[in-house]
């Protein structure tokens, strides 16, 4: 009778013919060298993409009009094995810090020079949950409640 509001995570696996440390470094520190320029969420095309290499660090893009857009924050930072970051993009594909699905990237050394990279993008239900929290937040007086939730989540995941 009750339909659960659940969406299966997006999962991807690929094997890259490079050592684990190189795979991790290219994914994070050298994000700008590969992140598709058309995959931006700002008003103008992406100029550069960055990941700040530490827990709490931002994933952000700079744009041709001089603006910067935060895509998410590093919730887990375990080089060269794993990162988990929030994906603060609304269903309308616009940045929205109150919406956070979550992406985990795992780098597994299959051999000295091959790495299995696994991606899981999950918690799409957050789009709905946050709608609810936002409504409650506006009754409770707004942001402090939401930020507290975010902090709790961030700490629990850390």
């Amino acid at each position: 009778m009750t339909k659960p509001f659940a969406i299966a995570p997006v999962r991807k696996t690929l094997v890259v013919n490079v050592p684990q440390s190189h795979a991790f470094e290219v994914f994070t520190s050298r994000l700008d060298s590969w992140w598709p320029k058309g995959h931006g969420i700002g008003k103008t095309p992406v100029k550069q993409s960055f990941i700040e290499p530490h827990k709490g660090g931002r994933w952000y893009t700079t744009h041709e009009d001089g603006s910067a857009v935060t895509v998410g924050h590093m919730l887990t930072w375990e080089p060269p094995h794993r990162i988990v970051f929030s994906w603060e993009i609304g269903a309308d594909w616009k940045p929205d810090p109150t919406v956070a699905s979550e992406v985990e990237i795992t780098f597994v050394a299959e051999s000295a020079h091959t790495t299995r990279v696994q991606l899981e993008h999950r918690n799409f239900e957050a789009l709905g949950e946050v709608g609810g929290e936002r409504m409650r937040g506006s009754v409770d007086g707004g942001w402090p409640g939401l930020l507290e939730l975010y902090k709790k989540k961030a700490e629990a995941l850390g």
């Binding site: 509001f5 997006v10 991807k12 690929l14 290219v26 994914f27 590969w34 609304g90 789009l127 409504m135």
Partner: protein
């Protein structure tokens, strides 16, 4: 179902709240409106948009009409992200392997 319609429908925070209120099961317009800071006609209008986007659907239950979530709409959003990551990871793989070859030969 075009993902663009779902995205546009979910861009509105009130509509996301409507979606949220349907998580626990089918509800009538009045029940949805009760928990929301907007009028019942406004909720009806939002439900209409969500229905057109394929995110909710409705059925008659006795004398009233109840609305419930249609998982197909959100599945469209998910499949769009699925393609999004395919392209991003393909680009990542190409760059990782190319740069590694480049550095090895230095």
């Amino acid at each position: 179902m075009a993902y663009g319609t779902s995205f546009a429908a979910l861009a509105d925070p009130t509509r996301r709240s409507v979606m949220e209120s349907l998580r626990s099961g089918p509800r009538a317009v009045g029940e949805i409106a009760r928990g929301m800071p907007v009028s019942r006609p406004a909720v009806s209008q939002h439900l209409k948009v969500l229905k057109e986007a394929g995110l909710v659907t409705d059925r008659a239950e006795g004398t009233r009409r109840v609305y419930y979530l249609d998982p197909k709409g959100l599945a469209a959003l998910r499949s769009w992200l699925d393609q999004f990551w395919n392209q991003a990871l393909a680009d990542f793989q190409r760059e990782a392997e190319k740069s590694f070859e480049g550095e090895k030969s230095k």
